[in-house]
Symmetry: C2
């Protein structure tokens, strides 16, 4: 049976980290909220899981994945679940834990990239917290961006064999879901803060090579040029407000 | 061999979620950074893992757990690893995933509770971002606090058998690490924002009962009254600044 992915239509958001894994593996899946409401798609299907009191284990938020009777929310937990099923993670427990740990660190940076433009409240417009956003983005560009991306560079550099491998891999020698997520993170940062991100990437050859290499994957190349790949926009996590780019 | 927990000495912080699990299980562990530097303890042991280029898989940040050759960072991943070993999670995969999903949602709320007093930058003093903190805390009290705690109430209510169980449990009938973490989260919120948290808890009998019940656990009662339990303070995640409590 096809996997069901539930996420807001119209933005890449956190759903995109799951989409990239499903697409790279060529998995059979339905992007439910983007489907036809007359065929069980659309937002009502998603809101059922989030709001109906009859759901014993409701997700706190989307994205979530439905696989038969299993419902998994939280992006990193979805990928922990999908990883072995899609062959996007090595078999050994310690490698799986390490991949998950990298994914959780990516999730932390994603949350910070969101709070760049929403430092006060998700419920308020950007325009109503722009002054705070200007202060937060300065710290993000100077401290957080180099610190996070520098860590990804270090672990790529320390993964044996990467000096001879193009693109380099985060865990072992094969593509993992963490590679896909790091591609997406860097892609989003290049959209949101092109000047600051390019400046930091100049000193990070492994991260640059990973970002350049992932779209050469056959299935991902097809996905990225399809209509299934939504463009970045100013409703999602990564938003381009030039004033936040310094 | 004893588990090694590495975390900043002097604060409960994220390390406390791991400590509670180790203590509840009566596990053999060393709180390394609080130990004697002449006996391999103290901060140098922690900084080795964070900073030495010889570490192949360095944690991005503490807390992290060392178990023989395995090093696990990210609080939720540490508990995912420890859960089965400490018998603090059910055996079935779907229950383990659900427990992890709850833990990740707790982690999200912990991050928001931190950003309450540091909405601009972790690297700046509270006093230098107090104006922003006042705005952010208002949204947190009105929107985020009831939304998160309301979700925990809903899942406690929907866990079969909890109506007859005191204290109620988040997953199944036995104590899990998620119960311990929810206790700690509520405890921290009651310290940081006593007025706002008590107001929200008035309508959440299951969350109140869980918070009241966990410290009756024999081993936890001993831990909570020992010197190993650090007091809350204004260096940690949960900080009491009365002006942020409305």
């Amino acid at each position: 049976m096809a996997y069901q992915l539930h996420y807001w239509p119209g933005i890449q958001g956190r759903g995109e980290f799951v989409r990239l894994a499903l697409e790279a593996a060529g998995a059979d899946y339905v992007d439910v909220a983007r489907g036809d409401p007359h065929a069980g798609g659309g937002l009502p299907a998603m809101m059922h899981f989030l709001e109906d009191a009859s759901v014993a284990r409701p997700p706190f938020a989307c994205p979530f994945l439905v696989d038969g009777k299993t419902v998994v929310a939280q992006t990193a937990a979805i990928l922990l679940y999908l990883g072995p099923r899609l062959r996007l993670v090595p078999a050994a427990e310690r490698d799986r834990l390490w991949t998950h740990q990298i994914q959780l660190t990516i999730a932390d940076m994603v949350a910070e990239a969101h709070d760049l433009h929403h430092p006060v409240a998700s419920a308020l417009y950007y325009e109503d917290q722009k002054k705070e956003a200007l202060r937060r983005s300065e710290d993000f560009r100077r401290q957080r961006l180099p610190r996070f991306l520098g860590w990804f560079e270090a672990i790529l550099q320390r993964n044996a064999g990467n000096a001879q491998r193009d693109p380099p891999r985060l865990v072992g020698a094969r593509l993992s879901y963490a590679d896909l997520s790091l591609f997406q993170l860097v892609d989003g940062l290049l959209y949101a803060l092109p000047k600051a991100t390019r400046r930091v990437l100049r000193r990070l050859p492994h991260v640059r090579a990973l970002h350049a290499g992932v779209p050469r994957h056959r299935r991902l190349a097809a996905y990225l040029s399809s209509e299934r790949r939504l463009p970045f926009n100013e409703e999602g996590i990564f938003r381009h407000y030039p004033e936040l780019d310094g």
